[in-house]
Amino acid sequence: MNWRRGLALTVAFLILVVLHYTIRPLLGWRTPIDFLVIGVLLLSVRIRPGGAAFLGFLTGLVSDSLTPATLGAGALAMSVVGFTASWLRAVIFADNVVLHAFFFFVGKWAFDLIYIIVARGAPPMELLVQGAIWSPLSAALTAAAGVFVMLAYRMGLDPQHA
């Protein structure tokens, strides 16, 4: 990865962080789009698994700082998701939009499930509903947004495609 590509990825990631803290509260949906997960996945597939895990850890920690009761849960979930995404990408993934959508969907759902298990902040039934209903819906929206972001990144920022 050359420096121009690295800069483009960094800018894209920062834009996604800003979107996460502006668009998400503004929409206020019950199933929010997770721009942080999109950002971590977008970078993870382009860096080594260790770097992806560390990036996920830092991003999750930033996210957790706003909810001190579950500090560490988001960091742990994001580390695992980042590492796995990077490792899977290196092993099997091709450059396909549908596969990317599925990738974002699974990434977000996995993040939510790990977060729910580690945080353990609600009654079991509520956690089950969250993990089985709301999380997949949120993951679907995140997947749609992720594909859109990926295409926009390729057309606008990625030096290889621009």
Binding site: T22, G50, G56, V62, A75, V118
Partner: protein, 329 residues
Amino acid sequence: MARAVRASSRADTVVLVACVVTSGLFTILPSVARDQVAGVLRRTVVQPVLALQRTAERGRNAIVERETLTRRLDSLTLGTARLTDLELENERLRRMVGLGAAMRTGFVVAEVVHTQSLGDEHTVTLTAGANSGVTPRSIVVAPDGVVGMVTTVDPTSSLAILWTHPDFRVSAQSVGSNVLGIVRPHAGAEGERYLLELTGVAFRDSLNPGTLIVSSGLGGRYPTGIPVGTVIGEIKSSEGWARTYVVRPAVKPQDVTTVMIVQPERLGVGVASLWPKPVDTVRRVVSDSALAADRARRAAAVAKADSLVNARLQVRDTPPTTIIPRRPP
């Protein structure tokens, strides 16, 4: 090469394990320590995104509350528009209650139903009838004065003519000078339709504008002392031996919502003391006219002073003129 890849993969795993262990440690920290760590992050690296989030939340709240605020504003506007009417009605009802308390017995309170049918605008329906003790030809009054008379009585309702009805008559007198006459509706043009006129005033008597006219008690139907209206001015009449005055009625028909029907047995006791004393009324009229005169004098003085100042300013602003000698022819 293979060794390098293995070493790299091992390093990635070590980083992952380190991240997971650190995160796990954070989750099991005491809440105080967790708050401290989160607080440090919020005050440093997270502060910009926190500010962004706060702004976004505020924006969302503004969007969500806009509709509620608009609805509330509409309700307030509507409420404000109705407030004046309610204040007037409240004032009328208070006076009605005061009149009822003073009268004590011998009256029936009724609401007025304006039928508004064409050609029948001088008649109203009252929500009290024979069951409540209403009898035909009972007089109908309001806190301001005479309203009319009951003509037809049903068990639960009754019909009454207003003072605007062509058949309405009441024997009246002026307060203070005791000038007698008969009050009847004024048959004027559209604008003067809701006025009364005091007819049959002896030619030797004259009344000043603002004089209060009350019922005189002659004829036995309307007892002495119920306000009928105030004199506006004299009009020319064909009767050379008597004067006729236009009277502004004490009660406006469109404002009447609640009235009192005075029962015949109450008329024997007298009702003159229930309304404001004529002396007070005369004094109020006099003081009102004095105030108006004073206000007019003051306005005239101000206008005069203004014109003087303007004249001086004009003189100062005008450039000096030079007289050009006329050319010889």
